[in-house]
Amino acid sequence: MLNRLSPLALVAALVVATPASAADYAIDTKGAHASINFRVNHLGFSWLTGRFDTFGGTFSYDASAPEASKVSVEIDTNSVNSNHAERDKHLRNADFLDVSKFPKATFVSKSIEPAGDGKAKIVGDFTLRDVTKEITIDAEFVGAGSDPWGGERAGFKGTTTLALADYGITFDLGPAGKEVYLDLHVEGVKQ
C-alpha cells in the first residue's frame, strides 16, 4: 500500500518543496478591479480628479523576490473621463492629450527597488504624446491570495507625479496646475 502510493507522495513532496516562483498576472480590467486616476490642482483651490476608463496590462510578481517583478501598462488616452463632457473633449484635443495623434500612453518598468514593509519604488519608462521619460512610481503591496471564485489575485497601489510640460502639454492651467498626480490601483489575476 505504501509502496503503491510512494510515487504520488514523491510528486506531492516535490510540489510543496518547490520555492514560490514569479507568477504572471493580468490586470483585472474585465472586472474593473483596477483604476488609473489622476488629479490636477484647480487654480490652487481644489483638486480636479479624473481617470482613464480603458487600459490594460500585465505584471509578474514574486513575493520572495519582489525586485524581479515587472509591470507593463497601456492606456487608451481617448478614454479620459473627468465626469464633464466639454472638459473631456478639451482634454482629448491638441492642448492636452491629442488623442487622434497619440492614442496610447504606456508604462514599462525597468527596475524595482523594494523599500521594505511591502513598499517599493518602480522605475520605468512612461510614454505620453510620444515623449518617453523615466518616472518612479511609489508602490505598495496591498494583498494577495486565493479569491472566492477559484482564482488567485495580487493587488498594489501606487502614486507618481508628472510635470505636464515634460510631455509637451503647455496649456496654462496656472501655477498650481503644472503637475498631474496619478493614483493607481491595480489588481491582477494570476494567469
Binding site: 481617448n78 473621463n81 463632457a85 466639454e86 473631456d88 473633449k89 482629448r92 496654462d172 492651467l173 496656472g174
Partner: protein, 183 residues
C-alpha cells in the same frame, strides 16, 4: 407693410428672419472661433461659451419658426433667373436649413453628452437627451466642419445675390431689404 410673402417679394417677417438669423449666425461663428482659442485665465473663458450656447439654442428655435413660416408662405417668384441658377439657388437655400439644423443639433449633443443640461442665459435649461460617453468629441468635430461649410455657403449665396442684382439686373438685394413694391 406686408407681413406675409407674396409672389412679388418677401414680407416683413421673412425679411426680419433673414437678416436677424444671418447676423446671429455670423456672430456665433466669430464667437465660436474666438472662444476656443481663449486661455484658461481669460475672463471670458467660461462666459463666452455660455453665451455661444445660449444664443445658439435660441437660434435653433428661431430656425424652426423661420422654416415653418417659409413653408406656410408662397414662394416669391424667381422668374428671370436662368433655370440652372434657379436649381442651384434652391439647393443652396435648402442646404442652409440642413447645415444650420445639423450645427445646432451637434452643438446641443456636444454640451449634453454627459447628461448635463444646457442653460440658456440662466433663464431656463434644455435637458440632455441622455448620456452618450465620447459623443462630445465626434459632435464637436462635426459642429466645427459644418460651421465652416455654412460660412462658405453664405459666401456663395452673397456672391450669387450680387450677381443677380448687378449683372442680371434683378432686384434680389432690394427684394430682401425693402420688400415687394406696394400695390
Amino acid at each position: 407693410m406686408l407681413m406675409r410673402d407674396t409672389t412679388a417679394g418677401y414680407g416683413l417677417v421673412s425679411r426680419l428672419f433673414h437678416w436677424i438669423t444671418a447676423l446671429v449666425i455670423f456672430g456665433l461663428f466669430g464667437l465660436g472661433v474666438w472662444m476656443v482659442g481663449l486661455g484658461y485665465y481669460d475672463p471670458y473663458y467660461t462666459t463666452a461659451p455660455h453665451w455661444h450656447k445660449s444664443v445658439g439654442m435660441l437660434l435653433a428655435f428661431a430656425l424652426v419658426a423661420r422654416f415653418v413660416w417659409r413653408v406656410v408662405n408662397v414662394k416669391p417668384s424667381d422668374d428671370g433667373i436662368a433655370p440652372l441658377e434657379r436649381i442651384l439657388a434652391r439647393v443652396a437655400h435648402w442646404s442652409f436649413y440642413v447645415l444650420l439644423f445639423a450645427i445646432v443639433v451637434t452643438g446641443y449633443l456636444m454640451s449634453t453628452a454627459d447628461g448635463r443640461p444646457i442653460h440658456i442665459f440662466d433663464w431656463f435649461a434644455i435637458p440632455s437627451p441622455g448620456t452618450n460617453p465620447g459623443l462630445e468629441s465626434t459632435a464637436g468635430a462635426v459642429h466645427v466642419w459644418l460651421s465652416y461649410a455654412v460660412m462658405a455657403l453664405a459666401a456663395v449665396h452673397t456672391l450669387a445675390a450680387l450677381k443677380h442684382h448687378f449683372y442680371d439686373r434683378k432686384p434680389s438685394l432690394t427684394r430682401m431689404w425693402s420688400g415687394p413694391p406696394q400695390v
